[in-house]
């Protein structure tokens, strides 16, 4: 590793100073680091996870999940009803995401303006920031033909007259391997790991990794840095040692679970009890469609086609976005809820399965208030996310839509991920059975790969945690720049929404700090 990267467990000093301390190295932290380093500030990025790079990525689930995902890819909500896939190494989830890139939908920005008063975040105001980040991260429509797993989504949608479009991806010299979720071994994915973080380091920024932030240092209503515990690659403390980070300004970019957790551990002032509230997940339900021909859902760009046919329904029900679910054996085997020979009967057709997922757009209705981040007795965050009837209605519609699509694409059988589901052999049979499946926690399998909200941006201090500049409302010297400031979910894979919004906010902050 280079001289600008410091393993906290090998650091012998007791303090580090910087102009700007950035807590977290994912989408928010990475973009902030580059912009503030370019503006001439000394920047220290603090990351709890290990620093792993292309050299370390071997496309093996057994290594990738423990090292690159929270809780060995098994992070769960408090009642364990939702399994959350979230990155944990340098680069955060950008290191392991499937490269799917969407600008924030116009409807979402419109909703933020009318319901949350965010007048600065209109389509026109944000367009240049999205454009800038699309250029920076080489985000383009995927030109290579979709793999079979994605093309079947297109075929099914077209047969049914549903929308189906090509996805944009943040890649350069991508070899279409299909292992984005285990870290790109070619450095083709333009994650924070290979773009903004190395660029910031070239400008003198430092990365302190395997460093967990215990709490902010708060002095007279001013944040003056943070206190860090060096941890092993398993995120567990290696000793009682602490490192004091002294910074003129702190940016919290620890994500929608981590950022509220840091605020809660710091006992930051919270007069209206808003910290950690309205955390959103894009709850995901999945469906496996067995095709007569091989699909090989593990090979090729994981996501290249999507359907927004049901994203913005006319009625008030919860909309959802349909995408392909890339298939790798360990993860797939855990999603198939059967056991014994019944499980193997499905698993043995692994290469013939088409995986579809629907991500539900939470946070847009009174009936969708999301979850709440709490601290457990070890001061570690737990997300309480109740699943209610409103969400289950959307989830059932999504399971029905995916089954219909998979049969239209030629599936010979369809199996929704549900404890009581069986393989169904026709759309007619599936329709009847799915309509009758009990939708309940730990019966319907629910996943999430997108954590958002919890430090909501807003104009009303009674319901928001940060103001329109991303400044924490109740202390000076602290901004929050990550997906936690979204007032709702996005309604699309969120990475580009974080990049664009943070680019705007960090540029404004750099100008403000220079002016002082």
């Amino acid at each position: 590793m280079d001289k600008n990267s410091i393993n906290a467990t090998e650091f012998f000093g007791s303090a580090i100073e910087a102009d700007i301390a950035i807590i977290g190295s994912g989408a928010g932290g990475g973009v902030s680091a580059e912009i503030l380093a370019q503006a001439g500030f000394s920047v220290l990025i603090i990351e709890e996870g290990p620093y792993l790079t292309g050299r370390d990525f071997k496309m093996q689930e057994k290594e990738a999940y423990p090292l690159l995902y929270h809780e060995s890819a098994g992070r769960k909500t408090r009642d364990k009803a939702i399994n959350i896939l979230q990155g944990r190494s340098v680069g955060g989830s950008t290191t392991v995401n499937w490269t799917t890139s969407f600008r924030t939908p116009d409807e979402t920005l419109q909703h933020w303006q009318t319901e949350h008063g965010l007048k600065d975040l209109g389509k026109e105001q944000l367009a240049p920031w999205f454009q800038r980040m699309e250029q920076r991260l080489n985000i383009n429509l995927w030109q290579v033909p979709a793999n079979a797993n994605n093309d079947l989504i297109r075929q099914g949608a077209e047969k049914l007259g549903w929308s189906a479009k090509v996805i944009s991806r943040n890649v350069k010299n991508c070899a279409n391997l299909g292992y984005c979720g285990m870290g790109c071994p070619l450095n083709a994915k333009q994650s924070m790991l290979v773009t903004t973080i190395p660029a910031a380091k070239k400008l003198g920024a430092k990365v302190l990794y395997q460093a967990r932030v215990d709490k902010l240092i708060i002095d007279n209503e001013q944040v003056k840095g943070c206190l860090v515990t060096p941890v092993g690659i398993n995120s567990k403390a290696v000793s009682d040692k602490k490192i004091k980070i002294r910074a003129k300004h702190t940016i919290l970019s620890a994500g929608a679970i981590g950022s509220p957790a840091v605020l809660l551990r710091s006992q930051a002032p919270d007069p209206y009890q808003r910290i950690g509230k309205r955390t959103f997940l894009h709850p995901v339900v999945v469906s496996a469609g067995q095709m007569p021909q091989k699909v090989n859902g593990f090979a090729g760009a994981p996501q290249s086609i999507y359907s927004d046919q049901f994203l913005w329904p006319k009625n008030a029900s919860m909309g959802f976005k349909i995408e392909a679910a890339p298939l790798h054996p360990s993860l797939v085997s855990t999603v198939l809820t059967q056991f014994g020979n019944e499980h193997f009967a499905i698993a043995k057709n692994f290469a013939y399965q088409q995986g579809a997922l629907a991500l539900l757009r939470d946070g847009f209705s009174e009936q969708s208030q999301g979850g709440e981040v709490l601290l457990d007795k070890y001061q570690y965050p737990k997300l309480d996310y109740p699943l209610n009837d409103y969400l289950w209605q959307g989830a059932r519609k999504a399971l029905l839509a995916m089954a219909e699509l998979q049969f239209a694409a030629g599936a010979v059988e369809v199996l929704p991920a549900h404890l009581e589901a069986k393989p169904y052999y026709s759309w007619r049979a599936a329709k009847k059975a799915i309509a009758a499946l009990p939708m309940a926690q730990l019966k319907t399998m629910v996943f999430s790969a997108h954590v958002m909200g919890g430090s909501a941006m807003g104009v009303d201090e009674k319901v928001s945690v940060v103001d329109e500049s991303g400044k924490f409302r109740h202390l000076d010297g602290l901004h929050i720049f990550d997906g936690s400031i979204f007032p709702t979910s996005i309604g699309a894979n969120p990475q580009l929404s974080i990049y664009g919004l943070v680019a705007k906010l960090a540029t404004d902050l750099a100008a403000d700090l220079k002016a002082i």
Binding site: S330, H343, K348, K377, Y380
Partner: protein, 190 residues
């Protein structure tokens, strides 16, 4: 007088033999027990009781997927992989897993004592499967959560092993021979 521990072992290993009676899982009790006990790997998290429980549940969960794979090394290796994966979960997740494994051990022991299962030699072939199915279909969310937790542990570890792939027609990741010089272009110059 048999200790709880002995009963537990008898039950689990009996169940194991019974469930897998149709396949090559016909280890005798002594041998299975010995395999787990002689494993000198320095487990950080899984106790010997845990390992006996998981060892017994593996064939019930995996069924025919284990055909042609059974060897002492394979199953012991799976237990070791599990122990390594557990190192990466949070303390409170571990506490919950601990409760689950303890509950399971006690539950099975009690089931045996209560005569729900007859002695291993007389148990019906599908009794361990029935037990899993009871948890899977339970109206108690805690039991379903226990089923899914064990399911994720065992299947997740099993299908991460290259040896499990031929049976499901997964060729494994593409073979890449990348020289270090390839990566040097991305390195920060010192």
């Amino acid at each position: 007088m048999a200790t709880r521990r002995q009963i537990l072992k008898g039950t689990l290993l009996g169940g194991l033999v019974v469930v897998s009676g149709v396949s090559i899982w016909q280890w005798n009790l002594e041998e299975s027990q010995t395999v787990v006990e002689q494993d000198k790997y320095p487990y950080q998290y899984l106790t010997e009781d845990d390992r006996l429980v998981l060892f017994a549940l593996m064939p019930a969960f995996l069924g025919k997927a284990l055909d042609n794979l059974d060897s002492k090394e394979f199953r012991i290796n799976l237990l070791q992989q599990l122990d390594q994966a557990i190192d990466f979960i949070s303390q409170s997740s571990y506490d919950e897993l601990r409760q689950l494994l303890d509950l399971l051990a006690n539950q099975l022991g009690r089931a045996y004592v209560a005569g729900v299962w007859s002695s291993w030699s007389r148990a019906k072939p599908n009794e361990l499967a029935d037990f899993l199915n009871d948890w899977r279909t339970s109206f108690i969310t805690l039991l379903r959560s226990g089923y899914l937790g064990l399911h994720q542990l065992i299947f997740g570890a099993f299908y991460a092993q290259a040896k499990s792939w031929p049976a499901i027609d997964y060729p494994g990741p593409p073979k890449m021979k990348l020289e270090d010089s390839f990566y040097q272009q991305f390195d920060l110059q010192p």
